[in-house]
């Protein structure tokens, strides 16, 4: 078996299984935590607060908009660029069709692929710089944050190295870095990709019940 066949075969099955089962385990764990009964007088709907919270937290509160401007812009650059790459880049769509979902969809033109990649890289590098230079971020960042940043960067970088699609070894290297990232994902802060729904919902419900905009 070649290196590429291993990374696109058994290693892919292992990594994706760990990813799915690990994420499910974390989500079930969060749900099973439950919450203590809220005995405050309900002034408005907690459910509506939970739903509103999902969307309102996409932008910072008015008073924080200046101080959060840098990481808001860099954060959106990185996340939107990465989502565009993952979902609409032709090599990814082909891989997902063959290995996951069984169907394909419209893909970006190559210039869109390049532009998304550059925006995503810029956002990730800017966020990493903030993490290692801002005094508050230095205090609250731990090894998990740095490992997650570097694994994500490596997955993106190896993808960039394999852009020409001319060497199996480069493609296999990208697959390997993605599989390491997938295995690390459920046990790290990368799970914020799933848990943000819960945290926004909880905060929204808490304040919504009290009649406060979350």
């Amino acid at each position: 078996m070649t290196f590429l066949e291993i990374t696109e075969g058994p290693l892919w099955v292992l990594a994706s299984s760990v990813f799915v089962l690990g994420a499910l385990w974390r989500i079930i764990g969060i749900i099973r935590f439950g919450r203590k009964p809220d005995i405050s007088i309900p002034r408005a709907s907690a459910l509506m607060g939970a739903i509103k919270g999902q969307f309102l937290h996409f932008v910072p509160h008015g008073g924080f908009s200046f101080r959060t401007r840098y990481h808001l812009v860099a954060g959106y650059m990185f996340h939107l660029g990465l989502f565009a790459l993952l979902i609409y880049a032709a090599p990814h769509v082909l891989f997902l069709k063959e290995n996951v979902v069984g169907f394909d969809w419209v893909t970006m033109p190559r210039w869109g692929f390049i532009l998304s990649a550059e925006i995503a890289f810029a956002g990730l590098i800017l966020l990493w710089i903030r993490r290692i230079s801002d005094p508050v971020m230095i205090q609250i960042s731990d090894a998990d944050d740095h490992i997650a940043s570097w694994l994500t960067f490596l997955a993106m970088l190896t993808g960039c190295l394999a852009l020409d699609e001319s060497h199996d070894s480069l493609r296999a290297l990208h697959m390997l870095s993605v599989e390491i990232w997938l295995i690390y994902f459920p046990f790290s802060r990368l799970m914020h990709a799933v848990t943000f729904v819960f945290s926004r919902g909880y905060t929204g419900a808490f304040f919504g019940r009290r009649g406060v905009v979350p």
Binding site: Y70, I129, R130, S133, P135, L161, A162, L163, D164
Partner: protein, 357 residues
């Protein structure tokens, strides 16, 4: 048969033979001249051309001479009209790239590296005289630090990938073999092409952010005349000494040259002729090796070479002693103004008032 008849027979034979010979010569000449009336000139007499009939009136050597000298030909089945099959200046470009550019560029980077190592071994780390005071002078704002580290990250990635592309065939390929080198070269090229445009954006922003303190100021020459970085004492300077200003302006001109040429190489359809791409490549490579060579000195001085320098770019402030020793005139101004407060640190130039815990 009498004697007179015998004498007449040889003459008749000679006459017939002569006629046949003339016929033969005429046929041969007609073939050579290409005309029955023998009016065309022989090819051997037409302006030095080699006789032949390859393409009508043109000889093989003429045809290949024109091809070699870059004459365009109307190729059937190709769009865009006349096409040049061989462009000779490309050989000159190739010789320059694989010859002087590679040789002198590589030598420049090696000399810079050796210089840094030798300087460190001879001078050691330049430390603050008498140690730190513990008081902070704000030096770089957060946007200045962020744009610096952003462009530094891109510089490192582009520098390494560019060096692989330029020198890999001489250094890496003999070690890992041609197959593996092919993958490394492809990867380096892709990374270099993708991250290049980001560098251009970052460079423009950085040049704008740092411009105001890198203009020539009275006293800049004093720093040089007193020995600059090689002096035993600490000649005074403004926020950036002339060495640092030199680095800024080198980044300005060589950085823009490497960016403009790189943009053309990244989008080659913007060029009208391949010679423009060849020139862009030489400018790109030449500017890049100069930047890399000087950046080694910058990285050395900013990290291990001078005690207290790195924290300016990581935390935003420097120790008062460092500021006074290395940038005395700037330190006086900064401490007198006292506008920017360094959170969590004792402010230099102010009464000692530790932040409340």
């Amino acid at each position: 048969m009498n004697k007179s008849m015998k004498k007449r027979l040889p003459f008749k034979r000679l006459t017939v033979m002569a006629c046949f010979m003339m016929l033969f010569v005429w046929v041969f000449a007609a073939g050579m001249t290409g005309s029955f009336d023998l009016k065309s000139q022989a090819y051997a007499q037409t302006s030095g051309n080699v006789p032949g009939k390859t393409l009508g009136n043109q000889s093989d050597s003429d045809f290949w001479r024109q091809l070699r000298r870059g004459q365009p030909f109307d190729l059937s089945g190709t769009p865009g009209g006349m096409q040049v099959l061989i462009q000779t200046p490309g050989e000159e470009w190739r010789s320059l790239r694989n010859g002087p550019l590679s040789y002198w560029g590589g030598l420049l980077i090696l000399v810079s590296l050796v210089f840094v190592i030798v300087f460190f071994l001879v001078h050691g780390r330049i430390k603050m005289t008498g140690g730190r005071t513990g008081r902070a002078v704000p030096r770089f704002s957060q946007p200045e630090r962020w744009i610096h580290w952003f462009i530094a990250s891109l510089f490192i990635l582009l520098g390494f990938s560019g060096l692989f592309v330029m020198f890999g065939r001489y250094v890496i390929s003999p070690i890992i073999g041609k197959d593996a080198w092919s993958a490394v070269a492809s990867a380096s090229m892709q990374a270099h092409n993708l991250l290049g445009p980001l560098f251009i954006v970052a460079l423009v922003i950085m040049l704008g952010v740092y411009l105001k303190d890198n203009i020539w100021q009275k006293g800049d020459l004093t720093w040089v005349m007193q020995g600059g970085f090689f002096s035993k004492g600490h000649p005074p300077s403004w926020k950036y000494n002339l060495g640092e200003k030199f680095w800024y302006w080198l980044l300005f001109f060589a950085g823009l040259a490497v960016s403009g040429s790189g943009l053309l190489l990244d989008f080659p359809w913007l060029a009208e002729r391949v010679q423009q791409l060849q020139l862009a490549h030489l400018i790109h490579g030449g500017s890049a090796v100069i930047l890399i060579a000087v950046s080694l000195v910058h990285i050395y001085l900013g990290t291990i070479g001078v005690e207290g320098a790195l924290e300016g770019m990581t935390q935003g402030y420097v120790d008062e002693k460092w500021a006074q020793e290395h940038h005395g005139w700037w330190a006086e101004e900064a401490m007198a103004e006292g506008e920017d407060v360094v959170e969590g640190a004792v402010q230099a130039g102010q009464p000692d008032n530790m932040p409340a815990e």
